[in-house]
């Protein structure tokens, strides 16, 4: 609804703070007409006290409506039935013996059960309990302690090795990147004979620039480190290189 402007607008802003207080619940429960709602908003937006009151009551109502229901005491329904229909007959046989189990068939109990089972599963697995070949001796405190200790050390060793491997790979990669960033000499500038040297004669130098030579040396060193630190990775890498090279 748009705001009226002009001669008809003087009837707006006629609501007082008392009106706002009296119609506050109607406003919150959506019982005001569009015109009334508009006037309510106009006043509440321009009056700080009313604005605060509306916000405060609105939050309170939200809080009230999100309050959870209280759980009923378990014996209440039985007590009511005992008082109205008379004492309940005790169930006989299997139904009587296992009647208490019906109380466990609730969503909450199922949730607790699953949580406890999952926790036990995680703890026993972490303690090295073998689910494929379960032994009763694995459940003794000493075995659990030893298994947990062994598992912890194993996990620590694996983690350390993994971090170390990662570090080496990162180091190699950064070196390779660094070498790649260095500008290489264009092919047209490569083997130029030294002035004053006879054409065709050699001085024993290799037909590469020193920079290319350095790069080759760097790569060789990197592969040596890789071979020593990560034998599997380097073997694969070298194998791949070997296949490409004639």
């Amino acid at each position: 609804m748009g705001t009226e402007v002009g001669p008809g607008a003087e009837h707006l802003m006629t609501w007082t703070c008392e009106n706002i207080e009296a119609r506050l619940s109607d406003y919150l429960d959506g019982l005001l007409s569009p015109d009334e709602r508009h006037e309510f908003d106009m006043h509440a937006n321009s009056c700080e006290d009313c604005s605060q009151m509306v916000a405060s009551i609105s939050h309170l109502v939200s809080g009230l409506r999100t309050m959870e229901q209280i759980e009923t005491p378990p014996r209440l329904a039985y007590s009511i039935l005992n008082q109205t229909l008379g004492p309940r007959e005790a169930k006989k046989g299997w139904r009587g013996a296992f009647g208490w189990l019906s109380g466990l068939a609730s969503a909450r109990f199922a949730y607790y059960g699953v949580s406890v089972a999952a926790t036990l599963l995680i703890l026993l697995t972490a303690a090295g309990f073998s689910w494929r070949k379960p032994k009763l001796t694995d459940l003794s405190p000493v075995s659990i302690y030893h298994n947990a200790d062994r598992q912890a050390h194993r996990v620590y060793a694996h983690t350390t090795k993994f971090v170390s491997d990662l570090r080496v790979v990162y180091e190699i990669q950064s070196r390779l990147n660094k070498d790649n960033e260095l500008p290489t000499a264009p092919e047209s500038t490569v083997p130029q004979s030294a002035p004053g040297k006879a054409p065709g004669s050699t001085d024993g130098s290799k037909p590469t620039t020193p920079r290319q030579q350095n790069r080759a040396n760097g790569l060789g060193k990197a592969f040596e480190i890789l071979a020593s630190e990560v034998p599997v990775v380097s073997a694969q890498f070298c194998g791949r290189l070997g296949r490409r090279m004639p």
Partner: protein, 210 residues
Amino acid sequence: MAPCSFWGKLVTVAGFEADDTLEQDAQLVQQCLQGDGSAWEELVRRHTRRIFNICYRFTGNGTEAEDLSQDVFLRVYKTLGSYRSAHGGFATWMTSVTRNLLIDHYRRTKRDRITDSLEDSMPVVENKESAGRRPDQQLLLGELSSQIQAALIKLSPELREAVILRDLQQLDYNEIRQILDVPEGTVKSRINRGRIELARILQQMGVRPS
């Protein structure tokens, strides 16, 4: 039930469920009156939680709420023959019985509460600690519920029952009018005053609902 409320309920899916519940309750009551004990058991099972919650919110005490809930069902059982489905739903009628018992209980225990109120005036440490927090944060922490419950007990019984029925039980104005047996204007006025008074009490307790 007024026709407008009836059609209002029909247009929503929830309305169909509500009408279905009303129908089932009416059938169960008929079976009870014919001496069917299992029908009464079913009625008890369906309404215990709601009645216990109303009693608990009104008294703020679990034991009292349990005793009062039992009294409510005992009275309903004895006066089931006086229930007429044409005058409204069984749940509304039962809530009306509950309300009457709660007011009786309030009057009976008024003297005890005068002594209790002296203890209530003692400063509460947890309220000071929570002062200044936003209510949505308090709600997340589960503190606001207990603070509102504490504030509810301080409301007058007329305002308290109106707020409980409207904002906790989320009944509509027409149902509350039937339960309290007062005109709809009085219902609206009590709900409004109850909310404002409750916010004021919470503010005094150091809880700012904003």
